[in-house]
Each structure stands twice: as structure tokens, then as C-alpha cells.
């Protein structure tokens, strides 16, 4: 069964690229030294740390000293937001209602400590309303945190426009770019962000390693205190295989970006078109243009997302329900809610996230199966029957 699988859940995590894994391997049992040690084993480890820091800096157009390695996107978001919060007297944070839980829950935990939160409104295409930002900023505002690529509906937020406002107001701008970095061109200078979160496992690097970009001169306290690694800002023995993998993933992403983005975007648009043509009443959520190259997010009214997912899984396709959230009991995605999506559409939502290893034939096979599964589940749905009878059950 497994050998015929098609993996369409690249926004949840990606396969480690073979070249990345090969680059990591020597650092497990060969060059296994502690990168802080002064002996030969330590120096070998240290060198790969700095090599990777350079690769990442190049990928996002930062300086190497502006890169701090972390254990992943979640830590980077917590580090950025809590690190700023604890180093400042300002007590107001602006974010958006469509952020990943690693930003939302972090902001909420600060709210319990006395911070005030404001949420930038979202339009029904899943894009923040830039024009609302300026009037929300007060002298007490520390930070605006808005993601770059949304992990559910795939929308790309107008960071550049946001940063013009935050800069003119002297407020810091953080962006959770976990879905974007490695999957589309990202330039911290062009975007104007002051802090930016990155995670390797979203672009064919390993899990458990990420980074935070912190613009030079930005003050933030460590989240992990200890042996003073990373200029004293993030302690912990260097995860050298992980860092080596992150570096290699960056190198490959940079090399292949010009080929990757158009190829995947073309597959995505083809999939969107086929779904809209072949599946009645299917609906695509999120802006069709400002969208991550691999993201397709659709709603199939009258059926429920988990059932869809499991049927597709049986047919060999790994996809995700609308929300990648691990809280299984959270039924309706906070992102779709913020976009004012119809409840029936929100229940039957599906995220298909394409990646480096997907091919045209995967798309074609998938649409066939999806059409069958949708028909089948609708056939047994009382809501579908009701709608066909013109009834109103909702």
C-alpha cells in the first residue's frame, strides 16, 4: 500500500531531501564534537554551524550575525515575541487572527501576564487589512506580528506595506515566515521585518531545527538561558546535524528557487482548475494570486474534513484537513472563521500542499479520487440531501 503513496501534506512537514540527509550524516557519529569545544572534533562541528549560518543568511538576504539557531518555528516565534516582551516596558502587541498557534498562544500567554492584544482585521480572501494598522498603533505598542505565508489557506501577507507603517511609527515588526522561507523568495531587507521565524522541516530540511532572524541592534532577552551560545541569546549544545541539514536545505532552496516556484505554482493552478471544473460546489479558500506556490485549500460543502482525509488516505493520498492544528477537538479553523467562511464550507475543508517531489500525474490521479470520495460522502450526508430538497437544516 505504502509504495503507491502520494504525499500532499508538505505544509505540515516535508521529506528530508536526500542531499540534505547526506550532508547531515557525518555529524552524528564522525564529526560528533561539541561545537563549543576547542579540540579538533569541536572545530569541525563549529565550522558547519558557521557554514549553515551563512547559507541561511544568503537565502533571506540577512547578515550571518543576525541569524540565531533555534529548535524550530515554534521556538522562534516564542523567542521573538516573549524575548521582546520581557526586554521592554511597552505592553501592547498587535497581531492577526490568522496566525499559527505558536504566535497566537504566545500572545495569549503574555495577555495573561498583563499585555494587551489587538488583532488586525482580515478580509474574506484571508489577507490582513493593511489600512487598519496605523490607527491601531499606540505609544504603548511594542510589536506587530504578522505571518508571511499562512499555513492553512496559503495567503501571502503584505509585509512590505506593513513595515512601511511600523517603521514610520517606530514599532517592531515580527513575521512568522515558517511556511514561506525556502518555498518562495524572501528578502528581509525588502520586506522590512525586524524579526523573522524560520523552520527547516518546511523546506526539505530536518525537524527540530529552525532559526530566528533578528535585525542588528534589536534588543531581546533569551528564551533559553544557559551556556551563552549564539551571542548569549540562545543557549544549548549546537544541534550540528540539524544545523548542517538546515544549511544544506537553504543552499538547495536558493539554487532551485527559480525552477521550483513556477513549476509548483503551475501544478497548483492546474489542480485548482481541475477541482473547480470536476467537483460540483467545490470552493477555493484564500486569495488566488497572493498564495504560497504549493497551497490548495478547498471547501466541499456537506461533508466533513476528517472523513475526507481518511478516505483519501485509504486511497493513497496524504492531505490535511483545513487546520493543521494538533488540537483534534478544535472543529472549525480559526483562520476560516476570521475569513467569515460559511460554516458548512469550513467543516468540509481540505488542504493539499504540493512539494518538490510531486508530479503532474499525482494531480490528475488525485482529482479523480477526490471526485469519487466527495460523491460518496455526500451521498451519505443528510445535509446534502437536505440541500437538494431545498430544505434548510443549518
Amino acid at each position: 500500500m505504502e509504495n503507491k503513496r502520494v504525499y500532499f501534506d508538505n505544509a505540515a512537514t516535508t521529506m528530508v531531501d536526500r542531499r540534505v540527509l547526506e550532508h547531515m550524516l557525518p555529524f552524528f557519529s564522525e564529526h560528533y564534537g561539541n561545537a563549543s569545544s576547542l579540540h579538533l572534533e569541536g572545530i569541525k562541528a563549529y565550522q558547519v554551524v558557521e557554514w549553515s549560518r551563512n547559507q541561511l543568511a544568503q537565502l533571506v538576504q540577512a547578515q550571518p550575525e543576525e541569524i540565531y539557531f533555534t529548535s524550530g518555528g515554534t521556538e522562534s516565534n516564542n523567542f521573538a515575541i516573549k524575548g521582546l516582551a520581557r526586554s521592554s516596558k511597552k505592553r501592547h502587541i498587535i497581531t492577526s487572527p490568522i496566525e499559527h498557534p505558536a504566535v497566537l498562544k504566545t500572545a495569549q500567554s503574555l495577555a495573561r501576564e498583563g499585555f494587551t492584544l489587538s488583532f488586525l482585521p482580515i478580509d474574506n480572501k484571508g489577507i490582513v487589512k493593511v489600512e487598519e494598522l496605523e490607527s491601531m498603533i499606540t505609544p504603548n505598542t511594542l510589536l506587530v506580528s504578522v505571518m508571511l505565508g499562512n499555513n492553512e489557506v496559503g495567503t501571502i501577507q503584505p509585509l512590505k506595506e506593513l513595515s512601511l507603517i511600523t517603521r514610520s511609527k517606530g514599532v517592531l515588526l515580527h513575521s512568522d515566515a515558517v511556511q514561506a522561507v525556502g518555498n518562495m523568495p524572501v528578502d528581509v531587507k525588502d520586506l522590512g521585518v525586524d524579526l523573522m521565524s524560520i523552520s527547516a522541516h518546511k523546506f526539505y530540511g530536518p525537524k527540530g531545527i529552525g532559526a530566528l532572524f533578528v535585525r542588528k541592534g534589536t534588543n531581546l532577552l533569551p528564551l533559553l538561558d544557559g551556556g551563552e551560545h549564539e551571542q548569549g541569546k540562545r543557549s544549548g549544545t549546537y544541534n550540528t546535524p540539524g544545523i548542517a541539514g538546515l544549511g544544506k536545505a537553504c543552499e538547495i532552496a536558493l539554487q532551485e528557487m527559480d525552477e521550483f516556484v513556477p513549476r509548483i505554482s503551475t501544478l497548483r493552478d492546474d489542480l485548482i482548475n481541475k477541482i473547480l471544473h470536476q467537483i460540483p460546489e467545490a470552493y477555493i479558500n484564500g486569495d488566488l494570486k497572493n498564495r504560497l506556490p504549493g497551497n490548495v485549500h478547498l471547501s466541499l460543502p456537506y461533508v466533513e474534513g476528517e472523513a475526507l482525509l481518511l478516505r483519501l488516505d485509504d486511497a493513497g493520498f496524504a492531505v490535511s484537513t483545513g487546520s493543521a492544528c494538533s488540537a483534534h477537538n478544535l472543529k472549525i479553523s480559526h483562520v476560516l472563521k476570521a475569513m467569515s467562511t460559511d460554516v458548512l464550507c469550513a467543516q468540509g475543508s481540505l488542504r493539499i500542499s504540493l512539494g518538490r517531489h510531486n508530479k503532474q500525474e499525482d494531480i490528475d490521479a488525485f482529482v479523480q479520487v477526490l471526485a469519487d470520495v466527495a460523491r460518496d460522502l455526500r451521498q451519505m450526508s443528510p445535509l446534502y440531501r437536505a440541500s437538494k430538497e431545498g430544505d434548510r437544516h443549518v
Binding site: Y302, V303, E304, G305, E306, A307, L310, R311, D314, H328, N329, K331, I332, V343, L344, Q347, Q379, M380, S381, P382, L383, Y384, R385, H393, V394
Partner: protein, 131 residues
């Protein structure tokens, strides 16, 4: 997350469908809470001779409706009224904690359908007497 019994019922749900001339129909849940179930019953001599359903919901909800349809077919109404959601969950080999509420839905829909059947019967009897 789901065990093999549940997955089997989810993959091949038994007795799916609608009985147009059902003796009792029961519907629970709605789209907002993410689960909805409609049970259709045919009753003869206080016995459930046919049971069909439609379900909108997650894997557990579908498996529960399938299992409940099998559990009640051929059973006396009285027996069915005594079934609990724990019986359903047990027959399915246990539901994940966050899915336990789905087992309520199945048994609730069936009991609603039985009430509907009883109400209709009472009504028909009254009509008969009046006739």
C-alpha cells in the same frame, strides 16, 4: 488514532441510506458542531426490522452510525431503548477520548427515531379511533 474495528466501519459503512416510508426518523447534531446524523427505522411487532442512516461527520461519527445500525437491527424496541453510548463505544473497541461524544450521537438519533415512531403510532391510533 482509530482502531481497526472503527476503520473497518468507516471504510465500509453498513446500512447507509434513506427509508422513504420509514416508521420513525430521528435527527441529531448540526453542521456547526460538525456532526449530524439521521436515522430511519422500519418497525414491525415492536421489532426494528430495518435501520438506515445518513451521517455528516468525522470518521468516528460514520463508524458509530454504522455500528449502531448493526446493533439495533432485529432488536426489540425495548432492548434498543436500554442501549447506552458505552455499549456502542465498547462494540467499536473504544473511541479516542476526544471522539467519545460521537457515540452519544448514534444512540441519541436512534432513540429520537423510536420516539418519532411512537408519536406517529399514537397519532395513527388516535386517527384510527376517530375514524
Amino acid at each position: 488514532m482509530y482502531n481497526e474495528i472503527i476503520l473497518d466501519h468507516f471504510r465500509k459503512p453498513r446500512n447507509v441510506g434513506v427509508i422513504e416510508d420509514a416508521d420513525g426518523v430521528g435527527e441529531v447534531g448540526n453542521a456547526v458542531c460538525g456532526d449530524m446524523m439521521t436515522f430511519y427505522l422500519k418497525v414491525k411487532d415492536d421489532c426494528i426490522v430495518d435501520a438506515r442512516y445518513q451521517t455528516f461527520g468525522c470518521g468516528a461519527a460514520i463508524a458509530v452510525s454504522s455500528m449502531v445500525s448493526e446493533m439495533i437491527k432485529g432488536k426489540k424496541i425495548q432492548e434498543v431503548m436500554e442501549m447506552t453510548h458505552k455499549d456502542v463505544s465498547n462494540m467499536l473497541g473504544g473511541l479516542p477520548p476526544q471522539k467519545e461524544h460521537c457515540s452519544n450521537l448514534g444512540i441519541d438519533a436512534v432513540k429520537k427515531a423510536i420516539e418519532d415512531y411512537r408519536a406517529k403510532k399514537a397519532c395513527n391510533n388516535t386517527s384510527a379511533v376517530q375514524k
